[in-house]
């Protein structure tokens, strides 16, 4: 239990998927212009990550990992090279399914989240989390927590970025640095603050 809590805190703060591993940068820059949309996208990412990470874990360890097909008579088969195409297909399918379910049962949520869902399918944070989960040999429970933690960390970063950019509109930036340039520098400063958490051990 303590391990799981520390994994969660670790993936939210110290190993923040966006600021420490640079995943999901494209939508981070594109959608961080106002706080409401950033929050919407943030929740969508948390949700999709918490679902795709364990599903991909099951698929990887049940079908693709070396020796996983021993029950079917192929103990030497190693399909792990197929993980990229499988993961991206799973992610695209889940995003599509989530979109349809939300549309059916909660039109209100669909209106707020709907536009972001297709974007998420090609968000590197989602695929990256699944690949990290394989590379770091997490157990099933850990993969759920890692997914949720990464999503929370991503949302934290994008919402604070949106808030900062809101204030930045009134700042007097040097010519040529407005927009993308200053956003990257602010992201750098944010990454520095997040690094301070790395002294904390749980």
């Amino acid at each position: 239990m303590v391990d799981h809590l520390s994994l969660f805190i670790n993936s939210v703060f110290i190993g923040n998927i966006l600021l420490a591993y640079f995943l999901g940068m494209c939508s981070f820059i594109a959608v961080s212009k106002n706080v409401e949309t950033a929050t919407g996208l943030g929740f969508a990412v948390i949700f999709v990550l918490t679902v795709t990470s364990p599903v991909n874990w099951l698929i990887y360890h049940g079908l693709l990992a070396p020796g996983a097909l021993a029950w079917a008579g192929f103990p030497d088969l190693d399909l792990s090279f197929l993980k990229y195409i499988t993961f991206i297909a799973v992610i695209a399918a889940i995003v599509q399914a989530v979109e349809m379910i939300i549309d059916r049962y909660s039109p209100l949520l669909y209106v707020t989240l709907g536009v972001f869902l297709p974007l998420i399918a090609v968000n590197c944070a989602i695929l990256g989390t699944s690949l990290f989960m394989v590379e770091r040999n997490y157990t099933f429970m850990e993969s759920v927590i890692f997914g949720a933690g990464s999503g929370t960390g991503w949302m934290l970063a994008i919402v604070s970025m949106a808030a900062i950019r809101n204030k930045l509109k009134y700042a007097d930036c040097p010519r040529g640095l407005e927009g993308f340039g200053i956003t990257m520098i602010v992201a750098g400063l944010m990454a520095m603050t997040f690094m301070m958490f790395s002294g904390i051990t749980l």
């Binding site: 990229y84 195409i85 090609v122 968000n123 989602i126 690949l131 520098i185 750098g188």
Partner: protein, 210 residues
């Protein structure tokens, strides 16, 4: 024939410089930041991405009349993912150390916005040869930024260029120290931000719309 050549040249210049994918279109920065601690990884990543973008544009463009538009994303992803698997296997076979250092970032070429972005915005509307050139151009434009950032980070962060020490010994004796910040994540953000600033102030470059 001459007109054709000029045409390709224009696409090349556009992709490499005028509309550089990283600095102008803000695409593909995830990996641009992550693999630039050392120049060797940046170069390999640049080559891998150029190959994937070029061939995915070529393949998607030659299928463009047969792909139904509502499932085009999944078709594009399938093409890109297959190319990435091939690239990954080749890297593992011939450059095992570097492929270990790139870790998941080779796989993340799939979701790199440059590849999908070129497929969506160029390959679906242009003939295969043009798309191939466009893919190569954007790949080179991306690699250029990657190598610039990696050069600065490796030089300032660990005092090396391509793994060779370039800081003279007497400077170290006099108290020269490597800038630890450059090796860490924030250094990458700062350098990209400053490079964009520099690029926006160079003559003949279109400005980012605000």
């Amino acid at each position: 024939m001459l007109a054709e050549k000029d045409h390709f040249k224009e696409i090349l210049i556009k992709g490499i410089w005028k509309e550089n994918p990283v600095a102008y279109q803000v695409l593909g920065i995830c990996s641009a930041l992550a693999v630039t601690v050392k120049m060797s990884t940046a170069i390999v990543m640049g080559i891998a991405l150029t190959i994937v973008t070029a061939f995915s544009s070529l393949i998607i463009s030659s299928m463009r009349k047969h792909i139904p538009s509502n499932i085009r994303i999944i078709v594009e992803l399938a093409v890109i993912a297959s190319l990435v698997i091939v690239t990954d296997q080749i890297l593992k076979a011939f450059l095992y150390d570097i492929s270990k250092q790139l870790s998941i970032f080779v796989g993340l070429i799939i979701t790199n916005c440059i590849v999908l972005g070129r497929a969506e915005s160029f390959a679906l509307a242009n003939p295969p040869a043009d798309s191939f050139v466009d893919g190569v151009a954007n790949g080179i434009g991306y690699s250029l930024i990657l190598v610039c950032v990696a050069f600065i980070r490796e030089l300032l962060g660990s005092g090396k260029i391509l793994g060779f020490n370039v800081i003279p010994g007497f400077l170290v004796d006099m108290g020269y120290q490597n800038m630890g910040l450059m090796v860490l994540a924030p250094g990458a953000f700062f350098i990209i931000g400053l490079l964009v600033w520099l690029k926006n102030n160079l003559p003949g470059v279109s400005h980012e719309e605000n």
